[in-house]
């Protein structure tokens, strides 16, 4: 009885917590909340004549195409004809449409307010953001990307307001009030630079079409801090209409997909061998005069050209598989495996994005000689693009493995929590990093992709063309074409990885991923005000 009495005497109102906003590094909005309205009707209140008139008036507002007005009006009328007290008419109306409807002064209709996500940049950064859908109770919940990873921070805590009401249901000014304030979600300020993100997306979209690839991805990172400056993949989806896309699109290929890195991996193996002082840039290869026979397999170079007594420097320039077998053998399985672990392979990079995958490293006792040989040129080993880019960043920054981070600050109404750069470990010595950088600069200047390089800039990089394993064998026509590099080589502002999945115009990284890398790099030089030095 007491409870019933209280129910009649008090009015409880739920106070929704506003979902946190997501900002680019320059504080421009990437994702925010936006109220929308749902129109409902009260069929028992509206007369038959009014229903007919109302249907046409509303249809004219909802539909731009005049030929569709009749059909829309019929739909509305059907809703209003139901023998119900309350019927939904239209969802997701914006404020302008609501105002138009209100100006009609119609009786028997009303609006409910709902909150949705709003993306000023449209479908940009979809893989980075993830999307906001519904949970089991119909509330908002973030899935994938930042929305999923930072769900706890972004969602906030709803509150409620209880106040005494009079007979008309109006609040009594001197009545009892009980408030539990809603805590709005925290805002995220990203490391993502919107100019770089925009540039990367534009160039990738063009590249996908130009090279007829199935998919393309790129990630740009500050090698000194691990800050992710841009991250994009295509084909993509629209986070506001995520339900219209296949769930295959939701995964972020940069963190969730695994691939065989191919020749881009050579720089890591070579850096390991240099670091252990097992080889030097001028060390000559004594097995590089032809295909290397190992465990019943013949290991060839990508173009079947062989360079007897080639140096390690030239092994990288020519992307010589036999030279890398030589380097891998010099390193030995124990050291090879140790460096793989030190570069961060076999463990998540701990990037702050949901759905990161981390393929396991094969246990050391399961490696055969041929596995070591193929892994030394990046075949037969699975990694994620984010693992690759942060491993190469360790060459760019003097040998340190950094933890990649998309978010720079988490802010609430009172406090700001800054996410500081985190160094995991030193993988190679500073001097090794310098030597390896010079070898990568030579690879760009004299390698297969030299034709696409912007003149005058010192860029360190390496192409990669990895065949895709299909049903137990490698398909020679299906490749992952990639290019990884950093610039300016002496004081890198960015490290970048570009990946094409099954490009059709050319299967090679030097003819697809490298030009895309250089095109983005050219824009970044202008953006960072970097002048050519050569």
């Amino acid at each position: 009885m007491q409870a019933k009495g209280e129910n009649q005497h008090f009015k409880d109102t739920a106070v929704e917590a506003e979902r946190g906003k997501i900002f680019f590094s320059d504080k421009a909005i990437l994702a925010t909340s936006n109220p929308s309205f749902s129109l409902y009707g009260l069929p028992k209140v509206i007369t038959q004549e009014e229903k007919l008139k109302m249907s046409y008036l509303l249809a004219k507002i909802f539909v731009d195409d005049s030929s569709q007005i009749d059909a829309e009006a019929k739909n509305i009328l059907n809703s209003l004809q139901q023998d119900l007290y309350w019927v939904p008419i239209k969802k997701g109306l914006d404020q302008k449409t609501k105002k138009k409807i209100e100006d009609l002064n119609l009786i028997g209709i009303g609006f409910n307010t709902a909150s949705g996500r709003f993306y000023p940049e449209g479908s940009s950064s979809a893989h980075l953001l993830g999307f906001v859908g519904s949970d089991a109770k119909g509330g908002q919940k973030g899935y994938f990307g930042l929305e999923g990873f930072y769900e706890g921070e972004l969602k906030g805590m709803p509150g409620f307001l209880r106040h005494e009401k009079d007979a008309l249901g109006l609040p009594i000014l001197i009545g009892k009030f009980l408030t539990n304030k809603a805590n709005n979600g925290k805002d995220l300020v990203l490391n993502i630079d919107r100019s770089i993100q925009f540039t990367v997306e534009e160039v990738l979209k063009q590249g996908l079409e130009k090279y007829g690839a199935k998919a393309v991805s790129a990630v740009v990172m500050d090698p000194k801090t691990g800050a992710i400056l841009a991250l994009a993949s295509f084909p993509s989806y629209d986070p506001i209409k995520y339900f219209s896309f296949s769930s295959d699109y939701y995964k972020n290929p940069i963190v969730a997909d695994t691939y065989e890195p191919g020749s881009t991996f050579k720089v890591l193996v070579m850096a390991a061998a240099l670091n252990e002082e097992l080889v030097e840039p001028d060390t000559t290869c004594d097995i590089c005069n032809g295909p290397v026979q190992l465990g019943g397999f013949a290991i060839r170079t990508w173009n079947n050209k062989y360079y007897p007594d080639t140096t390690m420097k030239d092994v990288i320039i020519h992307s010589d598989n036999t030279g890398m077998v030589f380097t891998g053998m010099k390193l030995g399985l124990d050291k090879f495996h140790e460096y793989l672990e030190n570069y961060g392979f076999g463990e998540p990079s701990d990037i702050d994005l949901q759905d990161e995958s981390s393929p396991d490293l094969r246990p050391k006792d399961e490696w055969r000689e041929i596995d070591l040989a193929t892994a030394s040129f990046g075949q037969g080993i699975a990694i994620t693009p984010i693992q690759m880019v942060r491993a190469v960043a360790s060459i760019a920054n003097g040998g340190y493995l950094m933890e990649p981070h998309v978010v720079r600050e988490i802010k609430d109404e009172k406090n700001t929590f800054e996410i500081k750069p985190k160094m995991i470990r030193q993988v190679i010595k500073e001097n090794t990093a310098k030597i390896m950088t010079e070898m990568m600069v030579k690879a760009v200047d004299e390698g297969e992709a030299k034709w696409a390089k912007p003149k005058g800039f010192k860029i360190a990089g390496k192409t990669g063309t990895a065949q895709i394993p299909v049903a137990g064998h490698y398909d020679p026509n299906k490749t992952i074409a990639s290019f990884v590099g950093f610039a300016p080589a002496d004081d890198p502002k960015f490290v970048m990885l570009v990946l094409y999945n099954q490009p059709s115009s050319s299967i090679f990284g030097s003819e697809t991923a490298a030009p895309t890398f250089f095109e983005i790099a050219k824009e970044l030089f202008v953006y960072y005000k970097i002048a050519p030095t050569e």
């Binding site: 909005i29 925010t32 109220p35 000023p120 009594i172 000014l173 925009f198």
Partner: protein, 111 residues
């Protein structure tokens, strides 16, 4: 107060001397305070009744203020979002190409 009997002849009359104690007199609560208190309580009671009656009728106004606050907050959000849309790079890129701006093709560096 004390009654004193005098040792007088029979014909003489008994005299009653009333002794007033000044302390007893000072303990007495002045009537005017009582009057003030009663009047005060009366005024406050009337004021409370008036405030109650007046305040209760403000419920409608309170409700409308709450609605206005909510509407203004919503409009503020809409305006913020509209600004963000206008300032988005996607929008700027579209508008700039319409206005005839194009990408820099060749940069001359001055040494």
């Amino acid at each position: 107060m004390a009654l004193l009997l005098c040792n007088c002849p029979k014909t003489s009359f008994m005299t009653i001397i009333k002794k007033f104690d000044p302390e007893e007199y000072s303990n007495k609560f002045p009537k005017k305070y009582v009057v003030f208190a009663v009047v005060g309580i009366l005024v406050l009671s009337i004021a409370q009744i008036w405030v109650n009656n007046t305040a209760v009728s403000y419920g409608e106004k309170l409700e409308s203020i709450a609605k206005l606050k909510s509407t203004l907050e919503m409009e503020n959000t809409f305006l913020e979002n509209e600004m963000a849309s206008e300032l988005s790079l996607t929008n700027i890129a579209t508008k700039s190409s319409k206005l005839g701006f194009s990408k820099i093709e060749s940069i001359q560096y001055i040494r």
